[in-house]
């Protein structure tokens, strides 16, 4: 990839990775490399007159930018499917056209915003006659369609699923998302770092720590701010608490979808205890707005440390019983083993991170691959399974709970003294990017700050962008009744994706 980066004009004041402005030829070469699997797509986003792609190879990341004076660019999605939904979203928001794209249907725009291409250079009035959304055609004998959502039966986020089934077996699932699109990237423009950070922390409530961390690290990279060592440790405590809480909730919820409610009840208790410990430590159960650019908004007190120690003891006593219960219950295993298999080559092709990737043999974890502080100082494993089924995704979570417990113990043991926040220096116009590991997978943030320190443009990419498409593949051939189980084992974010 470095060779490819050298062919472009490097943009100054972009950190920590290079951003290069390239021509059509290099853009096409990058696309080919993505399609051949030699590069992995990290994200694809736009501004009114240019398109950006962040790609990675062997742990290094590069951002390629192509100017689009005519409002068009060669499609990446035409040969690399992981980019298709990004390109559809870019067209909805900015009006840029992906030349040669196979799927040009709208994605986030449901025709209800009152504007067309809201972040384009010139915002247009919406089309008066807009055709109904065209779901993909399905042909064959004895097929019927089950439309589900956007309002679902559980206490969950809205989205539409269209199942085509043959008897009990799902032959195709097509997702339609965008229902909770709030225009976050547009709202961020022109805001102070503090206000934009609050928005970043509300892209996906269950990942508020991870999103705020990605945003803050991008700000710090752009401005060259030095975060105090203690702040890195406190941030990691928050991130691991968030992982613990969500993994406990998910393990219980997956078992609940197989009607094994005792696991759900016990995991719900553990989750609540994590949130209460977080509340004691940081004054907010989900730790919203506690990570700020330059450090953290609140230090962990002696009471907080005591609450964390009690939490760890509690987990060490009780969690092994729950693992044994999961592992020893054949009727539960009967539901999770071999259900919803995601193929290894598919996670590699989509660069799918997090639980879904690691349950199908892709060992990527930003805490290791990028090794941002303080993770380089800490000892932990990245659990990887190869089966790719619901069971493997449960086990990744179980093992990660154990790793997070160990990480929190190390963090409070070695917590360095000192301040927990630093000033953000005035740096003029500058750009930064960051990749951090949330509970769901890697969260990417990119931003440009204007000369006055406000946010000129910010892009946030939730890990779900690469996981949602694979859910469509995972359910194929499974029975309809196993969809909740598969879906819960992915637990993709709607809000983080719809933004």
């Amino acid at each position: 990839m470095l060779d490819l980066v050298r062919t472009g004009r490097q943009v100054e004041a972009h950190a920590p990775w290079p951003r290069v402005v390239v021509d059509h030829e290099v853009w096409r070469t990058m696309t080919t490399e993505l399609a051949l699997g030699r590069l992995t797509l990290v994200s694809l986003w736009a501004e009114s007159d240019r398109i950006h792609a962040a790609v990675s190879a062997n742990g290094s990341i590069g951002v390629f930018s192509l100017d689009c004076p005519e409002g068009e660019y060669p499609s990446v999605g035409a040969t690399h499917p992981a980019a298709i939904r990004f390109e559809r979203a870019v067209h909805d928001i900015f009006g840029l056209v992906a030349l040669g794209a196979l799927d040009t249907r709208p994605w986030l725009d449901h025709g209800r915003w009152g504007v067309k291409h809201p972040m384009a250079a010139t915002v247009q009035a919406p089309d008066l006659a807009r055709p109904a959304y065209a779901f993909l055609p399905v042909e064959g004998e004895s097929l019927h369609v089950i439309p589900v959502g956007p309002v679902h039966a559980g206490i969950i986020e809205p989205g539409h699923f269209r199942f085509t089934v043959n008897g009990e077996a799902v032959v195709r699932l097509e997702e339609r998302l965008g229902y909770v699109h709030k225009g976050i990237e547009s709202l961020m423009q022109g805001q102070t770092i503090e206000r934009a950070s609050r928005l970043a922390g509300r892209t996906s409530g269950d990942s508020t720590v991870a999103c705020a961390l990605a945003f803050s690290r991008a700000v710090e990279a752009a401005t060259g701010a030095t975060v105090p060592a203690r702040a890195h440790y406190v941030r990691a405590i928050m991130a691991e608490l968030e992982r613990l809480a969500n993994h406990c909730g998910d393990i219980g919820a997956i078992c609940n979808d197989a009607t094994f409610t005792i696991m759900h009840a016990h995991c719900g208790i553990l989750r609540e205890e994590v949130l209460r410990a977080a509340d004691t430590c940081f004054g907010h159960r989900l730790m919203m707005d506690k990570i700020i650019s330059g450090g953290v908004a609140i230090d962990v007190s002696a009471d907080g440390i005591a609450a964390l120690r009690a939490l760890l003891d509690n987990f060490r006593r009780r969690f092994p019983h729950l693992i044994a219960l999961y592992d020893d219950t054949a009727s539960l295993q009967n539901r999770t083993v071999t259900t919803g298999v995601v193929a290894k080559d598919l996670v590699a092709q989509f660069g799918c991170g997090g639980i879904v990737g690691r349950a199908s043999g892709r060992a990527f974890d930003a805490r290791k691959a990028i090794a941002y502080p303080p993770y380089a100082d800490l000892t932990f494993d990245v659990p990887v399974f190869s089966e790719g089924d619901v069971n493997a995704r449960v086990w990744v979570r179980i093992r990660e709970v154990q790793q997070s417990l160990s990480l929190i113990a190390q963090l409070i043991e070695r917590l360095p003294p000192g301040p927990v926040a630093a000033e953000i220096p005035a740096a003029g116009e500058c750009e930064g990017a960051a990749l951090v590991e949330g509970f769901r997978g890697d969260v990417f943030a990119w931003l440009r700050l204007a000369g006055d320190g406000t946010v000129a443009r910010c892009h946030l990419r939730d890990p779900s962008w690469f996981q949602w498409p694979l859910l469509e593949a995972a359910i194929e051939g499974n029975i309809v009744a196993d969809f909740p189980l598969c879906n819960k084992s992915f637990n993709c974010s709607y809000s983080g994706h719809d933004l």
Binding site: R112, V151, I155, I156, V180, G183, L199, S204, T208, L286
Partner: protein
């Protein structure tokens, strides 16, 4: 599993004592509740949760109401899977433009008498998403709201207080009638 169950018996009950209802919430409810509700519903309410654009933070705390600490069902409150089974719609989020129609249809699908509780700062007035091209605003911008429970997100105990106030008010309206 036997060990876990045995432990459950020995350890005793995790469920905490009920919080007292919120004074402001009781006042707000005074305007909207009919006298006949107790006769029709008894002291129980079925709740349908609708995410109309939330970041999912409110849903996490609403979920927590079902855990052993809060045990919402002891108050006669339970979550149901369809608006057709519901007395109360518990709505979160700034209502997004893309969810507006779904929310309106869910409201229409809920049989009378019905109440709407808007949850969270975003459900109140759109919160930090107010003013976006993609958001309509608070829940009351789309359907009539009987009670707001604010917070970002509100703690489970605040949700309980608001919902208990709702149930208690139904009781009071009956007593006055008798």
């Amino acid at each position: 599993m036997r060990k876990l169950m045995l432990e459950g018996i020995i350890r005793g009950v995790l469920t905490e004592s009920a919080p007292s209802p919120d004074a402001a919430a009781i006042k707000e409810l005074g305007v909207s509740l009919a006298r006949t509700t107790r006769r029709r519903l008894g002291r129980s309410l079925s709740i349908r949760e609708v995410d109309a654009g939330s970041c999912n933070g409110c849903e996490l705390e609403i979920h927590a109401l079902n855990n052993a600490f809060y045990d919402i069902e002891r108050f006669g409150l339970r979550f149901v899977a369809s608006p057709r089974h519901a007395d109360v719609l518990l709505v979160t989020g700034p209502v997004t433009a893309n969810m507006r129609v779904a929310l309106e249809r869910t409201y229409r699908a809920t049989p009378d008498p019905k109440w709407v509780v808007a949850v969270g700062d975003c459900g109140f007035d759109g919160g930090c998403f107010a003013g976006s091209y993609a958001c309509v605003g608070g829940v009351s911008a789309v359907i009539p709201v009987d009670l707001h429970i604010k917070g970002c997100p509100p703690r489970p105990v605040d949700l309980l207080k608001g919902l208990i106030a709702l149930v208690d008010h139904l009781d009071d309206s009956l007593l006055k009638r008798v």
